[in-house]
């Protein structure tokens, strides 16, 4: 039994981390006072009042990091769900209907997949000059083709299975067949993809805010925190270490959960 727990340790830790992030983002009281500035205390090293010190604006680093959990979860979740919704609609349709519908969807997807995602995101989001939610929208659009391709190839693997023909023989109708027969079969695939997408989306979003293209300077955001902290490495390194570790750990946690789901679904298929 102990070996089982040891093997599953990364997964357990990952789930704990993710639970913590979610709790932090929905319970604002936990990170109250994150944005309070105090110029007098600018860039102070850790002490009793501020366990991780303060940043250049005198904000408590610890509180600021905890507050950053919100932007670290809401955006990526939206991106993952949004892109997957598009993916399901077009991917399932392309696989099931086939023919020229599939051809068109596939050509568009291929084209979009050949575009360099991050580069375009930086450029387009930057030029449009939106904010956090503009970035989210841009990434939903840029991630969607990956999901379409994923769903389509997952569905294609089963498209010749007789149970779908059997559904046709029962005259179930395409909508019912897609929803209750084709979708359940690719559900594990979709589940794993959602987590991996969230991991990538977190990195993408925070990259943009790191470059100064995301949230406004006032908001608590790990990417923005890191960008501000670049110049503080000699004064209060924790201002950089805290958000840096936070992003890395959260991202890895999402990845671990995603990989675990993939593993489970592969085992089930054998």
């Amino acid at each position: 039994m102990m070996t089982k727990v040891w093997h599953r340790l990364p997964l357990i830790l990952a789930l704990v981390v993710l639970a913590a992030v979610v709790v932090l983002s929905v319970v604002p009281a936990l990170s109250a006072g994150a944005l309070d500035q105090d110029i007098m205390l600018s860039t102070a090293l850790p002490d009793a009042d501020h366990p991780l010190g303060t940043d250049s604006l005198g904000r408590d680093v610890l509180k600021l990091t905890l507050a950053g959990a919100k932007t670290a979860i809401i955006g990526p979740v939206t991106i993952a769900l949004g892109a997957m919704a598009v993916g399901l609609v077009f991917g399932l349709t392309a696989a099931y209907v086939g023919g020229w519908v599939d051809w068109i969807i596939s050509r568009i997807v291929e084209l979009m997949l050949s575009l360099p995602t991050l580069l375009l995101a930086i450029v387009v989001a930057g030029v449009i000059g939106g904010g956090y939610w503009t970035n989210v929208l841009v990434f939903v659009i840029l991630y969607a083709p990956y999901e379409v391709r994923l769903v389509r190839s997952g569905a294609l693997a089963h498209i010749n299975d007789p149970f779908l023909d059997a559904a046709r023989l029962l005259e179930l109708g395409p909508l019912r067949t897609l929803a209750f027969h084709l979708f359940p079969v690719i559900r594990p695939l979709v589940g794993a993809a959602l987590f991996l997408d969230m991991s990538n989306a977190l990195v993408s979003l925070s990259s943009l805010s790191f470059l100064g293209l995301g949230v406004s300077p006032q908001d608590a955001d790990w990417g923005r925190q890191l960008s501000d902290a670049r110049n503080l490495l000699f004064d209060n390194p924790y201002a950089a270490i805290a958000p840096g570790v936070a992003i890395i750990v959260t991202s890895i946690a999402l990845n671990i959960v995603g990989d675990f789901i993939t593993e489970q679904s592969e085992k089930a298929e054998r």
């Binding site: 360099p116 995602t117 490495l233």
Partner: protein
């Protein structure tokens, strides 16, 4: 499909892609919140006459398609316009910095391949054992961690604390000194790449090790070296195909890494220009980077296709049988002259599905 026809198709795809990219890039001018003329005027206040002058200078009153063609024409002749921010010719600014980004990218690629490929192969051959677990864990970490976070942490640990590496910028010295300054940024960039390389090469080789033909070869007492060579050859194909993706990650990643380490390459220039809304510069750099990515990917794809004998069609030595089999056509493969009862489905879509594989992170260009 003839090899030439195949290449032709690829080329057509590439041109279409570049066309679409150029449209998007061109359209950037119109995506800003303000009027194009005002954007091109820059951040300062301008009078009505100055605005009119800019309008005339950039032919903003022409129909869109003509503006596009003019812009494209200039681009193809090397005229990238003038930077709004510095008032210098964009081509000059790019010329100064391009080689820095190139050096950074190549260095990162070299590090990633030299460390990643052998580790991936090792993990595959020791599948399930501790070497495999360790390497896989490293890959997961490398893949998830954003490069700016990794970069800053490395910067703090290795440069500020331990003083092993220089802190920011490119230094004053000559070629070697600059390379030294590029080392930590290259390592940072390589982290994400190396993770992809490991994952792909490991998965690819494992598939070969578990394959039927490996088992059969072993059972016939075929020499170990021969079997390994066959496995590597078969594994190489998907590795080569996925390396197109690596290039995209590499080029895009330079933007982030350069900004993190304050390296004055194309990446920082892009970031500064985007923030400043210096459209001409943004357009130029975007087109250059995107073109490099697309061309490199297309070349790599074509290479993979040429290596795989299944994609080469020729007059088979077994001509009669080959004609009856019509391999690769979308015939619902029942007409097998030798009476094979199994469904030999040569369905385009099935091949598609198999080739792309249903992994979520497959082909996902991770933000670096």
């Amino acid at each position: 499909m003839d090899a030439l026809k195949f290449l032709g198709k690829r080329l057509a795809n590439l041109i279409l892609l570049l066309f679409v990219l150029s449209l998007v890039t061109f359209g950037l001018l119109y995506m800003t919140n303000s009027d194009p003329a005002r954007t091109l005027a820059g951040a300062k206040k301008v009078s009505a006459e100055q605005l009119a002058a800019i309008r005339a200078q950039y032919h903003l009153d022409d129909p869109l398609w003509r503006q596009y063609l003019r812009w494209l024409n200039n681009l193809l002749h090397g005229d990238f316009g003038t930077s709004i921010r510095t008032q210098l010719p964009v081509s000059q600014m790019i010329g100064q910095r391009a080689w820095i980004t190139l050096a950074l990218a190549l260095l990162a690629l070299a590090i990633a391949l030299v460390i990643g490929l052998p580790l991936g192969i090792l993990a595959a051959r020791r599948n399930g054992r501790w070497q495999d677990r360790l390497v896989t864990a490293l890959a997961v970490a490398g893949l998830s961690a954003p490069s700016f976070a990794v970069g800053l942490l490395l910067l703090y640990g290795l440069s500020v604390q331990l003083g092993w590496f220089p802190i920011y910028g490119l230094g004053e010295g000559g070629f070697l000194d600059t390379l030294w300054h590029l080392l930590l940024p290259a390592i940072t960039l390589a982290v994400g790449l190396f993770a992809s390389v490991v994952k792909i090469s490991r998965a690819s080789l494992i598939k070969q090790v578990d394959s039927d033909y490996t088992l059969f070869a072993r059972s016939r007492g075929v020499a170990r070296r021969t079997i390994l060579a066959a496995q590597l050859r078969n594994a190489a194909l998907p590795i080569i195909t996925s390396s197109g993706l690596l290039i995209a990650t590499l080029v895009s990643g330079t933007v982030i890494v350069e900004t993190t380490f304050a390296i004055g390459g194309l990446g920082t220039l892009l970031q500064t220009s985007v923030t400043f809304k210096d459209i001409p510069t943004v357009q130029a750099i975007t087109m250059i980077m995107a073109t490099i990515i697309c061309v490199a990917t297309a070349v790599v794809d074509a290479l993979a296709a040429l290596i795989d004998p299944r994609l080469r069609v020729r007059r088979s030595p077994v001509a009669v049988a080959a004609v009856a089999v019509t391999a690769g056509s979308s015939n619902v493969g029942r007409a097998d002259n030798d009476g094979t009862a199994g469904a030999n489905v040569s369905d385009d879509r099935a091949v598609d599905a198999a080739a792309h594989g249903a992994g979520a992170n497959d082909g996902k260009e991770t933000a670096r």
